[in-house]
Symmetry: none
Subunit: 201 residues, 4 copies
DNA sequence: CATGAATGAGAGTTCATTCAT
DNA sequence: GATGAATGAACTCTCATTCAT
């Protein structure tokens, strides 16, 4: 019965089961037994593939981050002007896939947990830096140097904030409004600046 | 050691200890033993006053919500125009006391936990409704009817978002920038509207 | 507010509350808090009057035994012949007061507990000996010497057995049948013996 | 140490350890730690196999009842006449194996506990009904209809009563006398009835 | 005389982890 | 590769007991 090359399949199964369990029961009630059951596997296999529970949680957050990165990268590839690149980053972060309830619950729970877990904190820091860096790049070509950093912070905070809201409003969250709210801030930031060259009418 | 009339004092001590423990170790590692030790009391007394651990967590969230309410109410009392009332709500929610690291950690952890705990969910719902209702009141006098609800949502989301950001940036969070970010959105919303009567020059 | 001479009243209140609690919740769930509440008194007072919980349980068993003794003594006073004395003992042990549900539960729980508690065991032993001795006395005048001891044992066992049955049949227990069952054995024992002189027709 | 197919073995071990602990320390002082130690197993395994302590106690009573049933069934198989069937039931209930001190202590403790525990009460009720029904069957062929029910009750009560006595006399209990006491009642019941057809001379 | 605040040992239970199979 | 039996540490909660008032 043992098969070769099961590793990537099993790892993915277990990560999905973890996200699902966090979404359904919360991180506090996400036990290895529960994850195993959700994946249709035994508890022992988790330690075989991830060493311990923390390893699985870390891999889960890494997976969530990677999915987000893919969303942004795909959009950035199709962007040409700075304004389009800025939009690509915002749209990637607010992509519908990022707001699937289980994923949001997973993100949030692990995000909060990262405040007290070095391994998760490292992942979060890398992700935060990448978002900030991604935002600064187009903003540098649209705003005076002194305004770049605060603008990047504002947009990043807004995106994080909308996640929090989505996570806690249990589904009845309007992505359209979210998008417009971010755009309102962006427009305001760019309009105030003489360097702004909005590629959109 | 037993004394009379200790109940309010002990309850407060234990709530403070809970907030402190969540701030220091996270909710997952906040045990009744840890809370008791932080309060300089035994574990048994927690059950004496709060029934069980969940009762204490609920009382803790209730206490955090009450503090926030006080901040807002105090500022609302000094506000006269709708614009000032709107500012009072925003300023109350972004008051420095609300951004003390332990309190933010407590808020966030219990907020997230509320997704899977009915008692906490009830408290969160009441608080969310109050914030939204508080915001709608002055906005109704400054915006066309159709724009009131989206505006209230946007400002509420922004406030929640800035908390999340503060919670995870471990202290180096610029409250000034937060305030300005919210104001940028508010100004934008009001400027766009013909009904706006900003009492400030 | 302190009054003198409260001791016998308080002791009696607490013993009644103990019997009531054992009847309602069982010995395992009879806590000092529960007893105190049932008596309308605080937990501390129990230790004031009985030293500790075991002291109260011991006093409770002593009280139950004393009530039984009174029932028997009262009937023995009115008995004249050996056969009447034998009947008095049986009737006293099977008196309706002895089959009040709470009392039966108390008896049984403490009886069982006595197997592992020296203080209760002592009380039980004294009571068992008294019953056996009471029975032997009239039997000695009605049976040959060699048959006295086995007869006393049989009747004693039967009485104990009927208690057990009453304790577990939750009220729908026929005292009349119990009485007749014991009499059937007694009659048999006496009929078989040439020494029998039944004073009743 | 983990092995496959251990479930029935472990369950039996833990049930034996429970009976032994009740016999040695009483139900009140029978903790899962004590049971685990007596079985040479950890406390965790109890919850693995029985869910919780109550589950183990229920399984223990079920096991005691089953053993009794086996004793009776084995004897009934060898019985031919109604009188022999009646004897088989009595003898099965008074079999020496049923009077091993630990078993008697277990029976009694769980019997008493059943007054306040629905799961145990259910088991006790089933057992009581079976004994009563078993007794009625042969009695119907030996007594007039109206006497069957009282006779069944009397014999059942007597059997229960002798258990109680055995449980509390700490080993020095005369099984022979017990048997004769029951027989005395049975003989009396049958002799008094004109319908009696005792197949024995 | 009486209270009930406070303690802390010990109970049942959960759970990540290990490991023989 | 995969299982699940088994462990034991850590958790929440209960409770008899003490003691200042």
């Amino acid at each position: 019965m043992p098969k070769v090359g099961m590793e990537p399949i099993r790892r993915q199964q277990l990560i999905e089961a973890t996200i699902s369990s966090i979404g359904r029961h919360g991180l506090a009630d996400t036990t290895v037994a529960r994850i195993g059951a959700a994946a249709g596997l035994s508890t022992g296999i988790i330690h075989h593939y991830f060493g311990d529970k923390d390893g699985l949680l870390e891999a889960t957050l890494r997976s969530l981050i990677e999915r987000l990165r893919q969303e942004v990268v795909a959009r950035l590839r199709r962007a040409e002007t700075p304004r389009q690149r800025l939009d690509a980053i915002i749209a990637g972060n607010l992509a519908p896939e990022q707001f699937d309830p289980d994923s949001v619950a997973g993100w949030l729970a692990l995000w909060v947990q990262s405040a007290h877990d070095p391994a998760l904190a490292r992942l979060r820091r890398v992700n935060t830096r990448r978002l900030r860096s991604n935002l600064r790049h187009p903003l540098r070509r649209m705003l005076p140097a002194a305004e770049v950093e605060p603008a990047a912070l504002a947009v990043a905070a807004l995106i994080d904030g909308l996640w929090l809201h989505a996570a806690l409003s249990a589904g009845n969250f309007d992505l359209q409004t979210a998008h417009e709210t971010v755009n309102a801030v962006v427009e305001r930031l760019l309009l105030n600046s003489p360097a702004t060259k909005d590629p959109r009418p």
